[in-house]
């Protein structure tokens, strides 16, 4: 059975037809074609698939796409303004927060959610907030530094 619905990703409404069991990550990557968000574990452990749902973080691999109907979905593709990177994205580059880059989309989304809620977190608060995001390159220090550099700039 397919269900017709509309998913709003990065402020664009996409009409889609989905099997009700489809997870949000598969809908966004495979049906809509936005492949920034990654699939790491597929069961809510690694955060590579993290998106924002009405501004709140969600592990999209483990969230039913149909439940996102009527919500604003934000993926890593929605963080930049045109060609201009968001401050967090620029900081990940300048602080060496990106190695292979696989965890980066989820890390950026997770850090965006943190800074929306707490614009000046301590290092401990950054580490706690990003603990649902695993970096298989173990480049955590550069990632934490990048988030803190943006936190301290605002």
């Amino acid at each position: 059975m397919k269900v017709a619905t509309t998913l709003t990703v990065n402020e664009i409404a996409y009409p889609v037809e989905l099997d009700p069991g489809t997870n949000l990550l598969a809908a966004v990557r495979d049906v809509i074609g936005l492949t920034g968000s990654k699939e790491g574990c597929d069961d809510s452990e690694c955060g590579a698939c993290m998106m924002l749902l009405d501004g709140k973080p969600v592990n999209s691999c483990s969230y039913l796409a149909l439940q996102a109907e009527g919500s604003e979905i934000t993926t890593v593709e929605g963080l930049a303004t045109g060609e201009k990177l968001a401050p967090l994205q620029a900081a990940f580059l300048s602080e060496g927060g990106v190695q292979c880059g696989f965890c980066t989309p989820g890390m950026l989304i997770s850090a965006t959610a943190l800074l929306d809620q707490n614009p000046s977190p301590s290092e401990d608060e950054v580490r706690i907030a990003l603990s649902g995001n695993l970096c298989r390159c173990t480049g955590y220090d550069g990632i934490i530094k990048a988030v803190l550099s943006v936190a301290n700039a605002v």
């Binding site: 483990s62 969230y63 039913l64 149909l66 603990s131 995001n133």
Partner: protein
């Protein structure tokens, strides 16, 4: 098996009609959908999404107590300053659930109805004297939370029953509470053992106490022997130690990759003791 029927409910009546027709509710999906992804179980054939039902939302603190709608998220609960101050054990619990994504999406209704013996909010809510209201197409009933759980993943709720709300009476003056778990890391963790304590002090004496254990028995439950060790005492080290020992004695832990039964039992006394100390410090503050 794939999902062959999915509806988004707009009201409690919508949900109850779908449940009467055999559908399973999904709220944040952080147990139901995650369980299906990790291959533990498949998704139910028929689902009713309850996350848009306005009547099930909300966190309300009044002079009489606290009411949580079934959809109250861990995030909404642990960020509420009145809950932190007066229902501290519950705030302690919700603060350490999963990661910030789990706390944003996961609900109190889903946490309780999933009935994991290691789940965070059950012990604190049992100590706080919470009741839950279940409603089906046939009617409504309110039961003590301790009576909801019957075994790992099992509750007394009928398939057609929806958890509507959780009600917690206002704690007496001079009451403090705390929840603590033994953990190997601070987030994205499952309690190795957990303990909840609620104590009321009056003029240097403990006048009331409720202690519950988590991940130490097939269901989360309170420990009358530990409560007896505290009530009437001065809340000093000897009474705390006796209460901790009573928790260990009442426990029937399992051995798994996260800890042996013997280790869990030994740690039960330590973690319960620390939860009691923290609750006493809050009661005296």
């Amino acid at each position: 098996m794939s999902v062959s029927s999915y509806v988004t409910a707009g009201s409690v009546d919508d949900v109850l009609a779908a449940l009467a027709g055999g559908a399973r509710p999904v709220a944040g999906g952080t147990d139901l959908v995650v369980g299906a992804r990790s291959g533990k179980s498949s998704l139910p054939e028929s689902l009713v999404a309850i996350h848009r039902v306005a009547e099930l939302r909300g966190v309300r603190v009044s002079a009489d107590g606290l009411r949580l709608g079934a959809l109250a998220s861990h995030e909404a609960i642990c960020e509420n300053e009145e809950i932190q101050a007066r229902y501290s054990a519950l705030a302690d619990a919700c603060t350490i659930v999963g990661s910030h994504a789990t706390r944003a999406q996961g609900t109190i209704g889903g946490n309780l109805m999933n009935a994991s013996p290691a789940m965070e909010t059950g012990g604190p809510l049992i100590c706080l004297g919470a009741t839950v209201t279940l409603r089906s197409a046939a009617g409504e009933r309110t039961i003590g939370l301790a009576d909801l759980f019957t075994g790992p993943g099992k509750t007394v709720a009928e398939p057609g029953e929806l958890l509507i709300s959780v009600d917690v009476p206002a704690p007496a003056a001079g009451t403090g509470s705390a929840y603590l778990r033994l953990e190997y890391r601070r987030q994205m963790e499952i309690a190795v053992v957990g303990a909840s304590a609620l104590v009321t002090v009056d003029g240097g004496k403990v006048t009331d106490a409720r202690i519950a254990m988590t991940a130490l028995a097939p269901t989360i439950r309170h420990v009358p022997e530990a409560e007896a060790a505290l009530i009437g005492s001065d809340g000093g080290p000897a009474a705390i130690e006796a209460a901790g020992e009573a928790v260990a004695a009442a426990s029937s832990p399992i051995s798994d990759v996260r800890g042996s039964a013997g280790y869990r039992r030994a740690m039960a006394a330590v973690i319960a003791g620390r939860a009691i100390e923290q609750a006493l410090a809050r009661a005296r503050a």
